[in-house]
């Protein structure tokens, strides 16, 4: 664990273990809101924010939390953070809040967040957990932005890109592209 440098962690979060591209977590918001770049950016930042703080809190409380009640506690922490995030968006980014709508409160159900709490934050010190939240959240946010930008661009000529099927095609293309790049690297 300690052998991993900060650089390695970033590489993992953004590429090798990207929550959206590799772990395929949090696909519901990913597919639903990425019709524009701005929506992708908004939800990406909101998710990143929740993930960093939830990882920090889960890690900070990990000594006191018994194995049996850890899941309800994660849910409690994540749900409160998401509620706060929703209030903050409504207060300071009302336009973004209107266009993201239900998907801000639905960050609660983004399994990438519970997964990081369970896999990483509950077993690692606070600092590392925050870094993990940061890299995983950035990986997710960058993917949302990339798919949002791609769909918005393609939709200028091909309307289907902003419709739900376009989301599936775009994600499939992104995953295919990643695998192709990895394969080529492997061969070299």
């Amino acid at each position: 664990m300690t052998a991993l440098t900060l650089m390695d962690r970033f590489r993992n979060g953004l590429w090798y273990e990207n929550p959206g591209l590799v772990q395929l977590l949090g696909l519901c918001p990913l597919l639903a809101v990425t019709s524009t770049f701005v929506n992708g950016l908004g939800l990406g930042i909101a998710t990143l924010f929740v993930l960093v703080i939830s990882n920090g809190l889960v890690s900070a409380t990990r000594q006191w939390i018994r194995q049996e009640i850890r899941i309800p506690i994660y849910v409690l922490i994540i749900a409160s953070l998401v509620t706060c995030t929703e209030l903050i968006f409504k207060a300071w980014f009302p336009a973004l809040d209107r266009s993201l709508g239900i998907f801000i409160p639905l960050i609660v159900t983004n399994c990438a967040i519970v997964a990081r709490a369970e896999i990483f934050a509950s077993r690692n010190p606070v600092g590392l957990s925050i870094v993990d939240g940061l890299v995983m959240g950035s990986g997710f946010a960058l993917l949302l932005m990339a798919i949002g930008a791609f769909r918005e661009l393609v939709a200028m000529g091909w309307l289907l890109a902003v419709l739900p099927p376009g989301a599936f095609f775009s994600l499939a293309l992104a995953i295919a592209a990643k695998n192709w790049i990895d394969q080529r690297k492997h061969h070299e």
Partner: protein, 211 residues
């Protein structure tokens, strides 16, 4: 002694629940005023365009009348009527209603009527119609065809989309959505014709039930 772990777990859970609740409560306190202001600004911003040609001097959105469901206005949920005044006399009524027969869920509409029952504007507040097809109802151009219309103009069966023998423009590839909107506007006009006296005579709804 056997239930001690359960008790300890319960206490931990309760303590964390209390901390989380406090966190949400503090955030709520910090954001409440701003959220209220944003909602009001958004409301006024959406109310203004449906008041074409109406002169008024009252604040928009201040003078409202909540109509609890069930009611004769379109929609299954509560409707809201905003009353606008010029001096002491009524100038216009704005109806927040829902068209029920859309393609995907209710379509929240804002319909402005002047005192004689002529449409002063229409705007779509919220909908989940198909992007690229039904969402054409968002277009200003499409909404503007209602301005100046009333229950008698066009008369009777002409209050329909063109495909149904009426006068209103449908959207290419989507007739369900415009049909639902046209019907909701017509029903609002009918409601106004039947209740015109009551709408301006009833006292204000309380500004806010609880604060």
């Amino acid at each position: 002694m056997a239930d001690m772990p359960v008790l300890r777990g319960g206490i931990t859970l309760a303590a964390i629940a209390a901390i989380c609740t406090a966190l949400v409560a503090v955030t709520f306190e910090l954001t409440d005023d701003r959220i209220e202001k944003n909602a009001q600004a958004w409301l006024e911003q959406s109310l203004l365009p449906v008041l074409a040609g109406v002169s008024f001097d009252s604040g928009i959105g201040e003078n409202r009348l909540a109509i609890a469901a069930p009611h004769e206005l379109p929609g299954n949920d509560d409707a809201m009527i905003y009353r606008v005044y010029a001096g002491d006399s009524p100038a216009a009524a704005l109806f927040v209603v829902s068209a029920r027969d859309g393609y995907s869920g209710p379509i929240r509409l804002l319909v402005g009527l002047d005192t004689s029952g002529i449409v002063t504007g229409l705007s779509v507040l919220e909908h989940r119609e198909t992007p690229g097809l039904g969402d054409g109802i968002e277009s200003r151009n499409w909404q503007e065809q209602f301005v100046g219309k009333s229950l008698e103009n066009p008369a009777g069966n002409r209050w329909n989309i063109r495909g149904d023998g009426g006068e209103f423009d449908a959207l290419t590839g989507a007739s369900v959505t415009p049909r639902a909107v046209v019907k909701a506007v017509r029903e609002t006009l009918e409601y106004y014709a039947a209740n015109r006296g009551i709408i301006f005579a009833t006292a204000n709804a309380p500004e806010k039930a609880t604060k």
